[in-house]
Every structure is written in C-alpha cells, then in structure tokens.
C-alpha cells in the first residue's frame, strides 16, 4: 500500500500563562491510501491537535515546533504541509484533506442554510468544473432563438458565456477575482451557484438524506443531530477529498444514529476511495470502522497495529487497560487507576508509568522507543525491548 500522509517527528507546544503545554511530542504516524486509521485515546491526549496539525490549523498560543507532514497528493510531488505557503495550504484544505467535527451543531453556521454551506465548498474548490457545466447549459440556451425572452437575454448570456469560458480555461484568472469581489457584476456568476446547488443535492442524496430538495433550504436548527452530521459529511466529501479527518463524529449521537453514520462512512470510503483518520475515545467504535488502530497517550503513540491484531493481542499496558474499560457483554468492567497526567507537568520517562502496573526503574527515567513486534505492530514500551524478545523467542 502507498502512503498518503507521513507525519514525521512532529512536536506541538502550547504557550499558556501557566507554562508550556507539550501537546504532542515527536509524533510519527503514517496514513496509507484507502485505509481507515483509528486514533484512540483519552481526552487531552493530543488526538485532535494531531489531526489539526495535518490541516495546519493550530492557532496561537499553539505552535508547531518541529517535524514534517508529507502529503503524497495525486500525481504531484510529495509536499511538506508544514513548509508550504499559507495560500497553498488553503487550496488543500477542504479539497484534498477535509474534516468532520465532533459537534455537528457547532460545526454548522446557524444563520446560513445547509445548501449555502455545502455550495460554499464547491464554489471555492470546483470552479472549473462548475464553469464548464454552466457553459453547456448556456450553449443550449443560446441555440434556441425563437421566443422574445431568449432574444432579450441574449446579450447578457453572451457576456456570461465569455466569462465562464475564461474561467474554465484558467480558473486562477485575475478577472474572476475582480468579478467575485465587485457587487452587481458578481451576479453574473449565478449560474455557477445553480450548478453547485445541483451538486449539493446529489451529495445529500449520497449521504442518504431522504428529502434533499427540502433540506437544502433548511437551517441547521431544523435538522436532527444525525441529519446535521450527514450534512457535514456531505460537505467534507464535496471535493472528493483524499483524506477525511473525522474527529469523534458520533460521540454526540445516539447509538442507533451512530450505527447509521458508521455504515455511511464505510460505504463512502469505498465509493470515493478516500482515506479516513478516525479519532475516537471509544475502542468499541474503532473496532467497528477501522483497519488500523493507533493508541495515543499524553502526546505520543504507544501502540499501533492492525485492528484484529490490537484487539486480540494488545501489548502495551495502556492499551490493555483501555480495552478492559470498554463495557462488553458478559465481561466485568475494570477501570484504569489514576488520572491522565497534567499536560503542564508531564512525568519523566514513559508518560504512562505512574498508572502502569508493570513500571520498572527505567520507565521513570528514559522514554521508550517504538519496537516492531510483528510486521506492522509497533509498541512503545520497555516490556517488549529486544532483550525480552530474544528470551521469549
């Protein structure tokens, strides 16, 4: 499998009044093409920050200190998302990498209709396609010339046609920027909006919204939580993104709606061949949807493996404890002792050692490095260092 995103040694700090919060330290993570990678961890372990760093959406007081995020976009040379210009990353956000947030109610703008919000993405990133579609309809209109109205609108349509021609030939033209920003003239672009609306309707159909023609004119408060989340998913897939980052998309929803959304994401992933980075705190949900699972604790990955492998054979003490905390029929619940460490004052050595049953002296001093136990199964723990492997093997 080919890599899609390669996160190499990324560290992110937040400079707060109380001190420096080390949200992520030296994170290494690969996302392959067409896979669903689950990023699992407790609140405050840096899952969301890791996801936001891919889109470079870390806002001050946060700062990306070091590292590279290499994005292997289609056909192009691999780009380092952390090094390219701001204008360049804006063309990637939403078109190549998009994000679905936890709270669908908060992610949608309450004063715009669902249609407005979906078409915004399409108008921004798929202008060329819209222009060529509009050209086809315009050409049809210009051919028929019998009625009075067609004769009346003919001059306006010819101007429109020229404009759209320029756009479809060269979407970066400066004329377009001028037209978009100037009132009254801006209205010449209405055909694009019309075409975008058609695409929005087909997107809503794709996410299994029953009555897209009605929903497109509705405001977010008129929809239920599940419908809102579907609309957000439609929006994030509007440009056939290569990577979809889903940040706890079902946490705010009921189990039945959650099941619907998970099914939908699975189906869409295969249909449009995107990769999904699925962030969750629930290992049960991760088991449903992911191909690979990475478990995160206090800003670093402690175990990463294939989904079947990690549930059958969890190695890191934290993964084991987390699995034991998931309610499972016919099994007794056991909680992890203690709390997530204060990010302002992380423990030395392995961050998990104060809560770990198997902690040794070395854990308190030195940070362990990831070891590959079986192909693709990495674990960052001294329990599985080379010495032990030799003994057991």
């Amino acid at each position: 499998m080919n890599k899609l995103v390669e996160i190499k040694g990324v560290s992110i700090n937040f400079y707060t009044y109380e001190g420096v919060v080390r949200a992520i330290s030296n994170l290494d993570l690969d996302i392959y093409q067409g896979e669903t990678l689950g990023l699992v961890g407790e609140t405050g372990c840096g899952k969301t920050v890791a996801a936001l760093s891919i889109l470079r959406l870390i806002m001050p007081p946060g700062r990306i200190e070091s590292g590279q995020i290499i994005f292997y976009s289609n056909g192009d040379k691999p780009t380092d998302l952390l090094a390219i210009a701001e204008s360049k990353i804006r063309t990637i956000r939403g078109s190549q990498i998009s994000m679905v947030f936890q709270e669908p109610g908060a992610a949608l703008n309450p004063v715009y209709t669902i249609g407005d919000q979906i078409t915004e993405v399409i108008l921004l990133h798929r202008k060329q396609e819209l222009a060529s579609k509009a050209l086809i309809t315009l050409d049809k209109l210009l051919v028929e010339r019998d009625s009075l109205s067609t004769r009346l609108f003919r001059p306006a349509r010819i101007i429109q046609r020229r404009l759209y021609q320029r756009m479809s030939d060269n979407p970066g033209t400066r004329l377009l920027g001028f037209v978009e920003r100037t009132p009254i003239i801006r209205r010449f672009l209405w055909r694009l909006e019309k075409e975008a609306e058609q695409i929005a309707i087909s997107l809503l159909k794709e996410v299994e919204i029953a009555d897209p023609y009605r929903v497109i004119k509705q405001h977010p408060h008129q929809l239920s939580g599940g419908m809102k989340q579907r609309a957000v998913i439609a929006m994030s897939l509007a440009c056939r993104t290569r990577l979809l980052i889903a940040d706890e998309p079902t946490t705010a929803l009921d189990v039945t709606i959650q099941a619907q959304i998970l099914e939908l994401l699975k189906r869409l992933k295969d249909e449009i061949q995107t990769s999904i980075l699925y962030i969750t705190h629930d290992l049960a949900v991760a088991a449903e949807i992911c191909d690979r699972v990475a478990v995160m604790y206090s800003g670093s990955i402690c175990e990463i493996a294939d989904v079947v492998e990690i549930y059958k054979n969890p190695l890191h003490p934290y993964t084991r404890a987390l699995l034991a905390a998931v309610p499972k029929p016919g099994k007794k619940l056991s909680a992890i002792k203690g709390f997530v460490p204060d990010p302002l004052d992380l423990p030395t050595g392995c961050c998990f050692h104060p809560r770990c049953k198997n902690a040794r002296d070395i854990c308190k001093v030195k940070e362990p490095i990831p070891v590959e136990i079986t192909p693709g199964h990495f674990v960052t723990c001294y329990l599985y260092d080379g010495e032990k492997l030799e003994n057991s093997g």
Binding site: T43, M227, I257
Partner: protein, 349 residues
C-alpha cells in the same frame, strides 16, 4: 425482595397550546402509561434513543415534573398499592380513594410533604459541566442540600461532606475549589457526592457517563457499584448505551416513544432480544471485537415525534415485521415467564 419504587400507568403529557386563546391542540406524549417496579437495592437500566421520554420518566418519578395521571409509590406496602388500584377501578370518586392517594401516592404530593421525600430521592444529571454552579465552591455545593433540609449543625455538616467526598474518591483538599478546576470525571464524582449528602435511598442517573471518556466511564461505573453495595442504594440508570446497561444493571427496560417495549434480564435481552426494536439497539451497539460478524440491521429513519405518535404499535413504521394488526391495535406488555416482558405481536425467537 421488597419493592422500593413503583409506577402504575404513569403518564406525563406536555400540552401543545396554539393560537390567541392558547387552544389545547395536542399533547406531547413523553411518558405514556408506564408501569415499572424497582426493588430494593436493584440497579434498573432504562435504555432508549433521545426523545423517547427516558429523562421525563426519571424526572416524573422524582416528582420534578407533575404527572398527568397514574401513580408513583416510594416504599409503600403492596396491599396499599393494590387497594388504591382496586378503588380506582371500582369507585374512583369515593372519599376513601382520594384519602388513600393523598396519603401514599407520590403523584399527588406537594409542598412540605414532597420536600421531606426529596432527600430520599436524588438525581445525577447528564452533563457535569453544566449541573454544577460555576460560582460555588465544592464545599458550598455539598453543604447546600444539608442547609435546605436542615439536617444537621455546621460542625457535623463539615464532617459529613468530608465523609461523602471520601466515598466518591476525592479528598478534603478539593473542597475549597471551584468546578472549573476539575476534569469531567471528577465533576461527575462531585455531582454524585452531592446526591449522597442527604443519605438517599433511591438515585436516578440521567446518562451520567455519556459526556465522559470510556476510561473515565469505567471509573464512574465501578464507583457506583461500590456505593450501591456500601450504602444500600437503589438506582434507576438512564442511558442510550445498551452495552453499559448490560454490564452494570440488574434489569433493563427498553423504552420507545414513551412506552416500555421490553423488560428483563440484561444478558437475556442482549443475547436474545425479543422485540425488534431491542434487536436493532443490540445490533447498533458497537462491540470492541473487530472479528465479530453481525447481521447488520441499521434501523432506518429516526424516532417519530411524540406529539403525533403512529397509531397501533409505535414502532411499526420502522419495523420490518409489521403487519396490519400492528398498525391498528397497540400491543401491551406481556409477561413471558420470569422477569421478561415484551410488547410485540410478532416477537423474535
């Protein structure tokens, strides 16, 4: 086992008023005829989707809402409960019936009588971020129930709150802090401590862990288990997560649009659900086992509006086993041997 809490044919309807004259046009049938009995030291789970009336039922039992009709009993002998039901059928206008009800039926209580019972019944809310007053120190939050009910003097009240803090796994050094200084799990512990101050018998939990992480959820659930054993508590646990209910509860009641559709032992319901809705819930519940192959039955659509519930069986528009009978006549909860009860004409095997 003695019954601690019982509801008989409990209904809580919210009127919809329209027009200039506030004409009564319809009712939101949030709780529509629920009979539920909770035994001493039992942990009953109430499972259902949002909008099915779980929270309304919990609040009505605690009398935070006034029921439209029906009976609620807290620790009342069975003979009296039966007598009231008997009189309701035979002579509903008689004085004896009214006297008995005002004496024993929680649904008719008000004022001081209700206040005296409030300390025996408590509620833990869903979101610990909003249920604690951000301007009150934890010590004041915990002292408030004591001063409201005038339970003890100041010195022993201090001792009492230190004691309950210890019960929920917090230390006295947390007392002078404010809620924002705590994490979600700790706040939920404080909310639980607040209910324990008055030494209640019965606590309703309204999705106490849905805002929490799975790992913190496990901590809270083990804490609840421990408290139940130590303090002889009885719980009504409202949740939408069947796997949580299965793990911790003694009995589960599955609710759909204001009605209980299935009741019984958690393991039985999880393994062999009889009602199609319970089955859909079971299949929707994620399980931490990627090798599990399940017949996916994703429930189509969403819960209909309780203001205009479908006729007949309320589940029939989303049910694949629905027949004409289901569309016409509403099924009642039928006992199926033991604790198991199902309200369906075509139960699954």
């Amino acid at each position: 086992m003695k019954t601690l809490v019982e509801t008989r044919d409990l209904k809580t309807l919210f009127p919809i008023l329209r027009g200039v004259f506030r004409r009564h046009v319809a009712d939101v049938r949030a709780v529509d005829g629920i009979s539920l009995s909770i035994k001493y030291r039992q942990w009953v789970g109430l499972v259902g989707e949002s909008g099915c009336g779980k929270t309304t039922l919990g609040k009505t039992i605690l009398r935070l809402l006034k029921p439209t009709s029906g009976h609620i009993y807290l620790d009342i002998a069975e003979e009296i409960r039966d007598k009231i039901s008997e009189l309701e059928v035979s002579e509903p206008t008689s004085k004896a019936y009214k006297n008995l009800r005002s004496q024993y039926d929680l649904a008719t209580f008000s004022g001081r009588k209700l206040k005296n019972l409030r300390k025996l019944m408590q509620l833990v809310y869903q979101d610990p971020f909003t249920s604690l007053d951000p301007r009150m120190k934890i010590s004041n939050t915990l002292l408030e129930p004591i001063s409201v009910h005038r339970l003890m003097n100041r010195a022993s009240a201090r001792e009492r709150i230190v004691e309950v803090m210890d019960m929920v796994g917090l230390t006295p050094k947390h007392l002078p802090r404010y809620p924002h200084q705590f994490s979600g799990g700790q706040r939920q512990r404080i909310a639980i401590a607040r209910t324990l101050v008055t030494s209640p018998q019965f606590i309703v939990f309204d999705e106490p862990t849905s805002a929490l992480d799975v790992s913190v959820q496990a901590q809270v659930l083990t804490l609840l288990e421990k408290l139940k054993q130590e303090q002889n508590l009885t719980y009504l646990y409202i949740t939408h997560d069947l796997s949580v209910a299965e793990t911790v509860c003694d009995t589960i009641a599955v609710m759909y649009l204001g009605k209980i559709v299935e009741m019984g032992d958690p393991t039985d319901i999880f393994k062999t659900p009889r009602h199609p809705y319970s089955k859909a819930l079971v299949l929707s519940t994620p399980i931490a086992d990627p090798t599990r192959k399940r017949g996916r039955l994703v429930l189509p659509g969403e819960v209909p509006s309780p203001a205009d519930p479908p006729p007949g069986c309320r589940f029939h528009p989303r049910c694949d086993r629905a027949t004409d009978e289901c569309k016409a006549i509403e099924p009642t909860l039928q006992a199926e041997g033991g604790e198991r009860k199902v309200a369906c004409y075509h139960p699954l095997d």
